[in-house]
């Protein structure tokens, strides 16, 4: 809405006319190449030589962390490193995106994006409700326009439709809901126009309230008991008064000429207009966000406040348009978009700089190491530590695995609060904090996996294999790469001088787990 006037949009719209013929669907690999070419030209202009491609180990770890939210298992690493197929990277991408583990992790990413990380009480109930809904949509690969449309217009009982958990989370006021919708689905924070005209862009206070009016009259009924359904309903006439004024406004879609919406289903009017294929801004915002998930920065930044970035010329606008055109032409296919991004060489660059690109922070001529999100970190610990096996074993013995699952959930919650990011919202760049380092060094869960009986680590320590093989396994398991000769030597010395072999291996595992290399996606 109202974004016709945003500068970044006008820049992009010009470009679209030029690339407007690209509406036919091309194979993903070709599209990825076209995007690479655009970047190659940019680097040439800027005098940058791109870093070489990352190693297979780095690629695999990156791919798994991005798609499945965890590091690859020992078996997955071994299989991939042995594979000699020239297109093995693309094969892994095809298998991962949409494969087992994808929906689970991305349901979490999406739910955090929509409802925030803040847990506890009602937020938590709604979080898991929305999570379940997303897991289903992502498994089915529901097109993004349908997902967005449903989230904006959802109503009824949560026993029928769990997607109400998004608006219910922000139902405190129409302003809140409108602000969240514009932030998520258009990449624009409108809420600052609540009290006054937008300070940077041509967004009028009245336009904000006309948008908010779509959400007027929403009522959320909370259940008396924890497990009973929630209900979201809407009545009213879609009119809102700007506080402390005498001005009353009607719901109006301010991007186009859509009529004033008075009926109770007025949100349907909004969602139809917003997600229509000719509303390019809707797709631009999503592509920008998705790109940033994989590359660490958006085509336009900040990702959730693109209007702020409006004055930055999107340097990669041709590539941005290629991706956006394809996303629309391919019927808003989230999985395809993800695969294309991963198949570019840009995604597969090494983080090691060369003489020309040491200081490149914006042109993606090298990968920039990024800290794992708390979810990625904890899921990886769970995988490496064999906690999933513990749950399975407990179930095989007739148990429920419940104590482990409960324990993990609890730990997850504590763990996330150790990251002190503002408002616990959606953050791309997590940086370690002191409490998080203390957790990794000293907590029960981060240590238990090196100590419990029959853990993968104690199995390695007690295995009859030679020292070299055992070091190799430990390194592949935790760091997804073979150990270097120097590391093997140092670690062997440490193990030989430790009080027991078991303690020695525990120490080595502890060191790997607490290393920068483990903590970062690089």
């Amino acid at each position: 809405m109202l974004m016709l006037r945003f500068q970044f949009i006008s820049i992009l719209c010009c470009a679209t006319m030029i690339s407007g013929s690209a509406l036919a669907i091309v194979p993903e690999e070709i599209l990825a190449e076209q995007i690479d070419q655009q970047f190659a030209e940019l680097w040439k202009r800027k005098g940058l030589t791109p870093s070489k491609l990352c190693t297979d180990s780095e690629f695999l770890r990156r791919a798994y962390l991005h798609v499945n939210g965890r590091v690859p298992t020992l078996a997955e690493v071994e299989t991939f490193l042995k594979d000699e197929a020239p297109d093995k990277r693309n094969q892994v991408i095809n298998a991962l995106v949409g494969g087992p583990g994808y929906a689970e992790h991305w349901a979490n990413v999406w739910t955090i994006r929509l409802n925030g990380r803040q847990r506890g009480g009602e937020n938590e109930t709604l979080f898991y409700m929305l999570y379940d809904w997303f897991e289903e949509q992502l498994t089915r690969n529901t097109p993004y326009d349908a997902i967005a449309g449903q989230l904006i217009s959802a109503q009824g009982s949560s026993s029928q439709d769990r997607s109400i958990a998004f608006l219910a989370r922000w139902s405190e006021s129409p302003q809140n809901m409108a602000g969240r919708v514009s932030k998520v689905f258009l990449g624009v924070r409108m809420q600052c126009a609540q009290c006054h005209d937008h300070p940077y862009e041509d967004v009028k206070q009245e336009e904000f309230w006309e948008t908010a009016a779509f959400f007027q009259g929403i009522r959320v009924q909370r259940p008396r008991r924890g497990s009973a359904p929630w209900r979201l309903s809407q009545s009213g006439n879609g009119r809102l008064r700007i506080p402390d004024t005498d001005k009353t406004l009607s719901a109006r879609y301010i991007l186009g000429d859509a009529p004033i919406a008075k009926q109770a289903e007025r949100r349907r009017v909004l969602s139809n207009a917003l997600t229509a294929a000719d509303n390019r801004y809707f797709s631009l915002a999503l592509v920008n966000w998705m790109w940033a998930q994989f590359m660490g920065r958006g085509m336009i930044n900040p990702v959730d406040d693109m209007s702020l970035g409006a004055r930055q010329r999107p340097m990669h606008r041709a590539a941005y348009n290629l991706l956006t055109d394809d996303f629309i032409a391919a019927n808003f296919d989230l999985q395809r978009l993800m695969r294309v991004i991963m198949k570019t060489e840009i995604f597969q660059r090494s983080a090691e700089p060369n003489g020309t690109n040491r200081f490149d922070r914006t042109h993606l001529s090298k990968a920039s190491p990024r800290a794992m999100t708390p979810e990625q970190l904890l899921n990886s610990i769970v995988e490496i530590g064999g906690f999933n096996d513990m749950v399975t074993n407990s179930m095989n013995r007739g148990g429920t695995g419940g104590q482990y699952v409960r324990r993990l959930r609890q730990q997850m919650k504590t763990f996330i609060t150790l990251y002190d990011n503002d408002e616990m919202g959606e953050v791309l760049d997590f940086q370690g904090t002191i409490p998080q380092a203390l957790f990794m060094m000293n907590s029960d869960i981060a240590n238990r996996f090196v100590t419990y009986e029959n853990s993968p680590i104690s199995n390695i320590a007690e295995s009859r294999e030679g020292m070299k093989t055992r070091m190799e396994e430990l390194s592949l398991r935790i760091l997804s790469r073979p150990a270097t000769a120097g590391e093997r030597r140092r670690f062997r010395n440490h193990v030989n001088n430790a009080e027991s072999k078991l303690q020695g291996f525990q120490d080595v595992a502890w060191v790997m787990l607490n290393s920068t290399e483990f903590f970062y996606i690089h």
Binding site: S173, Q194, H196, P243, D244, E352, F359, P435, E499, Y520
Partner: protein
């Protein structure tokens, strides 16, 4: 402050994040430079009492009983002649001779995120610069990076980040006020084994660093260093309030987290930490404002009063600036749900110590509370005044890694002279 060491800090900053490390390794200590000019009443430390959500000025420090927008609370006399505040802040009222109330704060941000950012950094969010929060700036100016405890600690909430100053000035966030930080003890291993692990980790990290080039990676090692220093520090005992005397238990009301936070803040200042933020959330009272605010006041009142009283009794108040604020005020008009909504137009901030003359009110609002009547104070003026309290020239510029100078407060910011008069 323009000692040669300091100039070199600035120069180093200009070359980017790698440069910051160089300076820190050199071990400069701006505190030493500051001490030389400490002859006047100058703050050396700051405690920020952050009222997340935006506290209602009319129901706390700018009461207007018996007016249309006045609400349900009465106003009571305070120790300072002629100044009245909410009846739910009786203990704070006793300390009023130490407090200055600014009733004419005015800003334009009515959104929580943006306003919190503004009041924490002095600037509205911009795409191209990550501004540094007050805590990071004060710890940059006053802190010692080699101290056992981090120089920016935030209790009960996360404050705002260090922005362009970099992750070294990120706050240590304490979630469980009054207890030792979590996971501070090694897990089931003795000290010798712990040191061996740390040494092995160091060697491992060295080889990783050589292959990469990233300030983020440098930051990670720094965080581990700090965490390990914290594990070894004896000073961490100040986080644990279980040993507090019964008098303090009563005074601060240690049964609630804000009370515990205030006591810990005072102890942290005592051991040399230059900036502590203590948060009390829940002020976003869109409905049922009177019940909510009287409840919150029962936590705020004893702790705020005890903090000021003890700082004074221990002779620390002159060097400790205490600031009470949230991100904005609340609408004078009471809405249909008995609540008040966001209102950045006219609201209140309270300050004490650090050279601030207490027992005064600065500025005022109209009878209906809708606008500032006189002495409007912008956020930038507030920041300039906080700088003034520390003897920091508000126009002093810090340089971002991209080489862009950022002033502690903008050129047109005015120090509120009346505060220090």
């Amino acid at each position: 402050m323009d000692t040669p060491e300091h100039l070199s800090r600035k120069d180093f900053l200009k070359v980017g994040a790698g440069g910051i490390v160089g300076v820190i390794m050199a071990g400069t200590n701006p505190v030493m430079a500051m001490r030389k000019i400490a002859a006047q009443k100058r703050a050396k430390a700051c405690i920020l009492l952050w009222m997340g959500g935006g506290p209602s000025q009319l129901d706390t420090f700018d009461p207007k009983p018996d007016t249309m927008n006045g609400g349900m609370f009465k106003a009571i006399r305070t120790a300072a002649k002629g100044i009245r505040i909410s009846e739910h802040l009786p203990k704070v009222a006793e300390q009023m001779r130490e407090l200055a109330i600014i009733r004419s704060m005015t800003s334009r941000e009515g959104n929580h995120d943006r306003a919190s950012y503004l009041l924490h950094t002095g600037y509205t969010p911009q795409a191209t610069v990550q501004y540094a929060s007050l805590g990071a700036m004060i710890s940059f100016e006053m802190g010692d990076l080699n101290a056992e405890l981090p120089s920016f600690i935030s209790i009960n909430g996360s404050s705002a980040g260090p922005g362009f100053l970099g992750p070294r000035y990120r706050p240590l966030v304490i979630g469980n006020a009054g207890q030792m930080p979590g996971n501070i003890k090694p897990y089931g291993i003795n000290e010798i084994r712990q040191y061996k692990r740390w040494r092995l980790l160091d060697r491992f990290e060295d080889s990783f660093d050589k292959r990469r080039d990233s300030s983020a990676i440098v930051a990670h090692r720094d965080v581990y260093e700090k965490a390990q220093r914290l594990m070894e520090s004896k000073l961490t005992k100040v986080f644990d309030v279980s040993n507090a005397g019964s008098k303090q238990v009563r005074r601060y009301k240690l049964d609630n987290y804000f009370g515990r936070g205030c006591l810990v803040a005072k102890r942290l200042i005592e051991v040399g930490v230059p900036f502590v933020e203590v948060q009390l959330g829940g002020w976003d009272t869109h409905s049922d404002v009177f019940n909510s605010v009287s409840g919150l006041s029962s936590q705020l009142d004893p702790a705020f009063a005890a903090l000021v009283e003890e700082l004074r009794a221990d002779g620390m108040l002159d060097e400790t600036l205490v600031v009470w604020m949230g991100e904005f005020g609340r609408t004078p008009r009471i809405n249909e749900r008995g609540g008040r909504d966001h209102f950045p137009g006219a609201w209140s901030v309270v300050m004490a110590g650090g050279g601030v003359s207490g027992g005064q009110v600065i500025g005022s609002t109209s009878d209906d509370g809708m606008e500032v009547k006189d002495n409007p104070v912008q956020v930038q003026d507030l920041f300039a005044s906080i700088g003034q309290s520390f003897g920091i020239d508000p126009k002093k510029e810090l340089v971002t890694p991209e080489g862009r100078p950022i002033a502690f407060a903008k050129k047109d910011a005015k120090v509120i002279d009346q505060l220090f008069g």
